[in-house]
């Protein structure tokens, strides 16, 4: 019975839906997290009676035909790259990007990863690093006798050193954009890698046309909306239940058929 298999595809699709939603909810408070959405597509159709086929010798044509679908599949799980709201933290090395762009992070493997989680810190050598200790590119070293650090909207890093009244420029932060941000490959730890789908990174200073600006003392909150996630969860659960009802119905019909006495 086809209905059994159709309902199975429906149940596994909804299971995938719940998995995506639960990951969104789990990361509701993750800095720079972008929510994901599962996109479903219908499966292949079997043409029982092809539309447009001739139904008689005089040339009459089947107007509608019969196409029976085989269920549903997960077409893709894509990321929605909208801006999260900036949250003030007062931390010197917390930087949020307002607009498009990603910070570049040098991984220990030598690869460059990209992130919007700008909750940085300095290491024992004064270099700006992520929470995992990976270097932020282009690397900037804060001198030891620094009393105050200020990062401008356009990414210029200035320090005020002990006994010096004028600020000194120690570096310039750069951000990267992509043709297709949703195509970046997530590797966990709030990091993304460039992929064939995302296109190459285009690097520029913040504030140029098409690039966002930086906000010191802020981090970007996740763009997960709790209410809509919970609503989506309810919808997914109900859809799962209804697919299981189809299986029950198909099963009951099969049992009726098998109980027919001959």
């Amino acid at each position: 019975m086809r209905a059994l298999r159709t309902a199975t595809t429906g149940m596994s699709a909804q299971q995938m839906n719940v998995e995506v939603i639960s990951n969104n909810i789990a990361n509701m408070n993750t800095v720079g997290f972008k929510r994901q959405r599962a996109e479903f597509q219908d499966l292949l159709y079997q043409n029982v009676e092809r539309m447009g086929a001739q139904s008689s010798e005089t040339g009459t044509v089947v107007p509608t035909g019969i196409q029976v679908g085989a269920g549903v599949k997960t077409g893709s799980v894509y990321r929605i790259m909208t801006q999260g709201s900036p949250t003030r933290t007062e931390n010197t090395y917390d930087i949020a990007i307002d607009g498009k762009g990603y910070f570049q992070i040098l991984l220990p493997s030598g690869e460059t990863a990209y992130t919007r989680a700008g909750n940085f810190a300095v290491n024992d050598q004064g270099q700006i690093v992520t929470k995992d200790g990976y270097l932020v590119q282009p690397n900037i070293t804060i001198p030891q006798d620094t009393t105050d650090v200020s990062i401008s909207k356009s990414g210029q890093v200035q320090v005020i050193q002990d006994g010096v009244t004028t600020p000194v420029v120690v570096g310039q932060l750069e951000i990267a954009t992509f043709y297709n941000e949703a195509g970046l490959e997530a590797i966990g730890d709030n990091l993304f890698l460039e992929s064939g789908a995302s296109g190459p990174a285009n690097i520029a200073t913040p504030g140029e046309i098409g690039y966002g600006t930086l906000m010191q003392h802020y981090v970007e909150a996740s763009n997960v909306d709790a209410v809509s996630e919970i609503t989506a969860l309810i919808v997914a659960q109900r859809a799962y239940e209804m697919n299981s009802k189809v299986i029950t119905t198909a099963d009951e019909m099969l049992s009726v058929a098998s109980q027919l006495r001959s």
């Binding site: 209905a3 309902a7 996109e39 597509q41 539309m51 019969i66 209804m242």
Partner: protein, 250 residues
């Protein structure tokens, strides 16, 4: 076998197919832009069986086609600038398939690594009058107006980068489902631009499957199948009794 059993069997076969169609509707309850389907069943006058002395005409249950309800689905807000929904029944986005154009109401689009607007499966979304829509990665996210004009913000104001093609068919029954939320045309009649349809950005069209109606249909199918089975059983019982009694009197 006599008429009763054949008529009952024809109904059971149709009910099984109805269950398949309903199962597909329920499986696609959360599929973007999905349009629900229903089996069209009509009585078909059949030839009476050979050994029927009274020659009663038998009406078999026959599924003559599938009906699709193209009514508008509700809108689902996603906030994604690449998610589009069509506000207007029977209108479609045009995408470039392997063998010509395909049509879809699923506007969950994205851009590829060259900045060209595509579906999630990578099929290129066609502009008004054909051709791709290429976004300039230098500029920000696109704004799409209700009439389908795609524009981006540049240094000196908004730049128009294209217009999304939205078309309509004279006869929706000419469309055939291809899976992946795509429809294909079965005739050579070209679609016309749907001028009255509106494109809504940041929204997706939910499927128009009515959960309550589908569950009710499940119950109906289940009960009908059981009662038809009952008829077959009773008919066989009748035959058995007849043979027994006639055998006794002979």
């Amino acid at each position: 076998m006599d008429n009763t059993t054949y008529v009952a069997l024809s109904r059971q076969l149709v009910l099984r197919r109805e269950l398949d169609v309903t199962a597909n509707n329920i499986a696609n309850m959360n599929t973007t832009g999905y349009k629900f389907e229903q089996l069209l069943v009509s009585p078909e006058r059949g030839r009476p069986t050979f050994n029927d002395p009274i020659k009663t005409a038998a009406h078999f249950a026959f599924d003559k086609g599938i009906g699709r309800d193209f009514s508008q689905g509700t809108f689902l807000q996603t906030g994604n600038p690449y998610d589009l929904a069509i506000d207007g029944e029977g209108a479609f986005f045009v995408v470039n398939g392997a063998n010509g154009n395909l049509y879809t109401r699923d506007g969950a689009f994205t851009v590829n690594n060259e900045g060209v607007l595509t579906t999630q499966n990578g099929l290129v979304v066609q502009g008004d009058g054909g051709g791709e829509i290429r976004l300039n990665p230098q500029y920000g996210e696109p704004t799409i107006s209700p009439d389908g004009i795609v524009s981006q913000r540049a240094e000196d104001g908004a730049v128009r980068v294209g217009k999304i093609g939205v078309v309509r068919f004279g006869n929706l029954a000419d469309l055939e489902k291809r899976g992946d939320n795509l429809f294909a045309a079965t005739t050579n009649v070209p679609p016309v631009p749907a001028t009255d349809a509106r494109v809504r950005q940041g929204l997706l069209e939910a499927s128009n499957v009515n959960a309550i109606a589908e569950i009710t249909k499940l119950v109906e199918i289940n009960r009908a199948y059981a009662s038809v089975s009952k008829i077959i059983e009773q008919n066989q019982e009748l035959n058995r009794t007849a043979v027994e009694r006639l055998g006794r009197s002979a």
